[in-house]
């Protein structure tokens, strides 16, 4: 493994560890509710209420599907661009390293 590839792997592991370790240490004690929702709940508890409702509110699991769709669109386009940029390289300098 080249030094460059090793650094890439370590960076990816660091990102995974950054989010996995708190989850493991926590041992299922926390709810991991979203901060956005926490603030909205806090405002409602203080007597503030929304004066306008979302035009469309996805029901149940549809919401998680739409979030997944958003991530998939972003990930797909990002992968396409990086793949195209990477694909230019062998033709330019003969580098065939993966």
């Amino acid at each position: 493994m080249t030094r460059r590839a090793l650094v890439t792997v370590l960076l990816v592991l660091a990102v995974v560890a950054l989010f996995a370790v708190p989850l493991l240490l926590d041992g299922g004690n926390s709810e991991y509710g979203g901060t956005d929702a926490a603030v909205a709940a806090e405002l409602e508890a203080d007597g503030h209420s929304a004066w306008f409702e979302p035009l469309f509110r996805p029901a149940g699991e549809v919401e998680s599907g739409l979030f997944a769709l958003q991530a998939a669109l972003g990930g797909g386009v990002l992968g396409y661009v990086l793949g195209r940029l990477r694909g230019r390289r062998p033709a330019r300098d003969g580098d065939t390293n993966p």
Binding site: T8, L11, G33, G34, W51, G74, V77
Partner: protein, 230 residues
Amino acid sequence: MHIAEGFLPVGHAVGWTVVAAPFVVHGARAVVKEVRENPESTLLLGAAGAFTFVLSAIKLPSVTGSSSHPTGTGPGAILFRPPVMALLGTVVLLFQALLLAHGGLTTLGANAFAFAVVGPWVGYGACRLVRALGAGLLPAVFAGVALADLATYVTTSFQLALAFPDAESGLAGALLKFLGVFAVTQIPLAVGEGLLGILLFRALTANARPELERLGVLRPAPLAPDGGPA
């Protein structure tokens, strides 16, 4: 950082929309100008938009026992300067407001100001500052991407404190309260996003060097010894 639909008082909702709108219009013109003058930028513009699209969709756990999402606006601001992200970030927020009931139309102005204006400018500024202090591109990218994320949440806390000052402790007390919810949770996420920014820019410096040089992100190398990355 999404203030939920309908929660901001009407005056604040209108005010933030008026504040954010010129940035978004200017951003739209910056995107059109970039694509028209440098069609080869389209790919990287797509990457910048895609990065914020994917990162703002993913909710991640934090040490505080809450979860939150990164913003992904830093790389685009570093590559193309912040105005471009004013448009791309607002498109993301609009998608989430219309399809996911996340954020909202009445809070779009405030959310866009935090997510698509302040975040990108802080990230861009931090990146420039770190480079001016003599650091290389990747440490500067880490600082820029992480601070773009954090600054967005600090701005949201400030907007909420302005709209809902505490009955006893006033603006400062409310600011501390909202920062307590948002900012602390966000710190590990910002670090993680900074690391992802490093990964992205490592891939770009290896594969898109001509584009980065044209955009002024990398200085043109007078001699490339072997054409390969260090």
